[in-house]
């Protein structure tokens, strides 16, 4: 009886290794290599040269990391402020032409946003928004906002209107109702939307490049010349750092939320 799960687990493990693990091996090896000629499976010699360059050299890594995170979190904060009222309107109110509003909000999920960015480029240029952080932040909003709206809508529609009515009957006005009753329920949805927003913003290359014109240096901008034919060791180290920052940011947000609920005692799903 025990044999089958074991066999299955082994197969699964091999599958996992091939699909998920294997691709990272050359990336890690390459970042530590000091010359790696074909057909050697391992580099001839190892060194931390690339990592030293990336992490401690005057390569501008940390400015780029900082810039990426600054843009990602600013975009996300703006998105949340825009998305919450929109979600309230779409979930709680009778709207005429609801499909139209939804179509407008979700259009950037389907239509590639760089199309709009190229179109608006010259207008931004005239407004002096190119080569600025604000310009890049504005450009990052359309690819990310729809996901935040969607996450909050999904979360809000699981909250029965009875809860808000109950709060009303206890004398809570619109602001108190939102702050004490709705917001605690929406937090997981907001966090999920925020994670997506941060992730998408972090990995934008083309949009940042067009609007930032190479002057707003985020991690992808810094990374690109290296991976398109630069020093493979440095490129690998940068890639790992980039992937690491994306994963760490998401994990931190996830844990922070879990902490919040452990402190507040989770019972949301009971409602």
């Amino acid at each position: 009886m025990n044999k089958k799960p074991f066999l299955l687990k082994t197969t699964l493990f091999i599958l996992l290794f091939i699909i998920i693990g294997l691709p990272f091996i050359p990336l890690v090896l390459s970042s530590l290599s000091f010359g790696w000629q074909w057909p050697h499976i391992l580099p001839e010699s190892f060194s931390f040269r690339a990592w030293e360059y990336v992490l401690f050299g005057s390569s501008g890594t940390w400015q780029a990391v900082w810039m990426s995170l600054l843009i990602a979190f600013t975009v996300t904060a703006v998105n949340i402020l825009l998305a919450i009222p929109a979600a309230i309107a779409l979930v709680r109110h009778q709207l005429r032409a609801k499909w139209l509003w939804e179509a407008i909000l979700f259009a950037p999920i389907v239509i590639p946003p760089f199309v709009a960015v190229m179109g608006i480029h010259l207008t931004f240029l005239r407004l002096g928004l190119t080569e600025t952080i604000w310009g890049v932040v504005l450009a990052h909003i359309s690819p990310t906002l729809p996901y935040v709206v969607r996450a909050i809508i999904i979360s809000y529609s699981t909250l029965s209107v009875d809860w808000e009515n109950q709060a009303r009957m206890l004398g809570a006005g619109p602001v108190s109702r939102f702050y004490y009753v709705v917001l605690p329920h929406l937090l997981p949805g907001i966090a999920a939307g925020a994670s997506l927003s941060v992730l998408i913003s972090l990995s934008q290359y083309l949009i940042t490049f067009i609007i930032g014109s190479g002057q707003v240096v985020t991690l992808p901008i810094l990374l690109f010349p290296f991976i398109s034919g630069g020093d493979p060791a440095v490129a690998s180290a940068y890639s790992l750092l980039f992937a690491g920052i994306a994963i760490v940011t998401l994990t931190v947000m996830d844990t922070a939320l879990k902490k919040y609920y452990q402190n507040k005692k989770t019972a949301i799903e009971k409602g």
């Binding site: 799960p5 299955l8 699964l12 599958l15 996992l16 699909i19 998920i20 294997l22 691709p23 091996i25 050359p26 990336l27 090896l29 074909w38 057909p39 050697h40 499976i41 402020l81 825009l82 009222p85 309107a89 779409l90 109110h93 509003w101 407008i104 909000l105 259009a107 950037p108 389907v110 239509i111 590639p112 760089f114 199309v115 709009a116 960015v117 190229m118 179109g119 608006i120 010259l122 207008t123 005239r126 504005l138 359309s142 906002l145 729809p146 992730l199 990995s203 290359y205 083309l206 690109f224 991976i227 398109s228 493979p232 690998s236 890639s239 790992l240 980039f242 992937a243 994306a246 994963i247």
Partner: protein, 294 residues
């Protein structure tokens, strides 16, 4: 008055932002693709950019490459994604271990990897002197670098396809898994009673159940790959290039006069994605796919 307009006022910030930044950009691009460009003194409307575009072979080759790459990427990621989802499901069925959560996380790792990094991983793995090639050489399957097929920066687009297959397979499995987990354990028992083995269980019960979600997921991957820029830019060749890259090349390399053509490519691209998006929307509504996912 306030009560009536309140919901629209709540919508206004988000809608306004999208209309201004996104649809404004689309419209701006549309005008310029039609030759309306007051900044350089052009105020008339003409279809030159489009006629030029449809007459150039570069556009048609780019379009066919884009369709091919998108189709193969979605196909391969669909197969891989289903394999991942089904094996996770089987694992969950046979062992009620708490590790399953961890397995899920592991399999979703490629989703969180930025596209550029994903592309570079494929470069290191599959370029002619890459990791795969080195492994093959060590097994004695190939003797020289040139014997390893050109899979990166190749005219067919294999590198792009491999990247998307790898990155989007977890997405497909994420779409299918909720449907699978709704397949009740008792179905399994019932099918056992009727003498169905593992394989016929998958073929008779599992496959029909996941088919709608599976198709939609593959379609979404298709639309996404269709309009992606970063990976084709990194892993493609200069000619032919995928539509977004083609547009970028026209936009940046040429003079201001080439820009209407670049923007025309964009408009065509946008129109095609809208069309594809409507198809996905129609079928997902009809098959009720998003229910389990939401």
């Amino acid at each position: 008055m306030w009560q009536k307009s309140k919901p629209y006022l709540l919508l206004l910030p988000a809608i306004g932002t999208i209309v201004l930044l996104f649809f404004g950009g689309l419209f701006d691009g549309l005008l310029k693709s039609l030759g309306y460009f007051p900044a350089i003194g052009e105020t008339g409307f003409e279809l030159t950019a489009y006629t030029e575009l449809f007459r150039s072979s570069a556009f048609w080759e780019s379009l066919s490459l884009t369709v091919r790459v998108a189709a193969l990427s979605s196909l391969i990621s669909a197969v891989m994604g289903a394999a991942i989802a089904v094996s996770l499901f089987m694992l969950n069925e046979s062992a009620k271990s708490r590790n399953t959560q961890l397995w899920h996380r592991m399999f979703q790792l490629p989703l969180t990897i930025p596209h550029l990094v994903g592309g570079y991983i494929i470069v290191l793995l599959f370029m002619q002197s890459g990791f795969m090639s080195k492994i093959f050489a060590n097994f004695g399957w190939i003797g020289e670098i040139q014997e390893f097929p050109v899979l990166v920066n190749d005219p067919f687009g294999w590198g792009i396809i491999l990247t998307y297959a790898w990155k989007e397979a977890p997405f497909v499995s994420l779409m299918i898994y909720p449907v699978l987990s709704r397949i009740h354990r008792s179905w399994r028992d019932v099918s056992r009673v009727y003498g169905a083995g593992n394989w016929s269980f998958i073929r008779e019960i599992v496959l029909p159940a996941i088919l709608p979600a599976w198709t939609i997921a593959a379609f979404i991957v298709f639309v996404f790959t269709f309009s992606a820029f970063e990976v084709p830019f990194l892993l493609g060749v200069t000619y032919p290039s995928m539509l977004p890259v083609y547009s970028y090349q026209l936009y940046t390399s040429g003079t201001l006069a080439d820009r209407p053509e670049a923007l025309a490519v964009n408009i065509v691209l946008a129109a095609l994605t809208i069309l594809l998006g409507l198809v996905v929307y129609y079928f997902s509504k009809r098959w009720n796919v998003m229910k389990g996912w939401d």
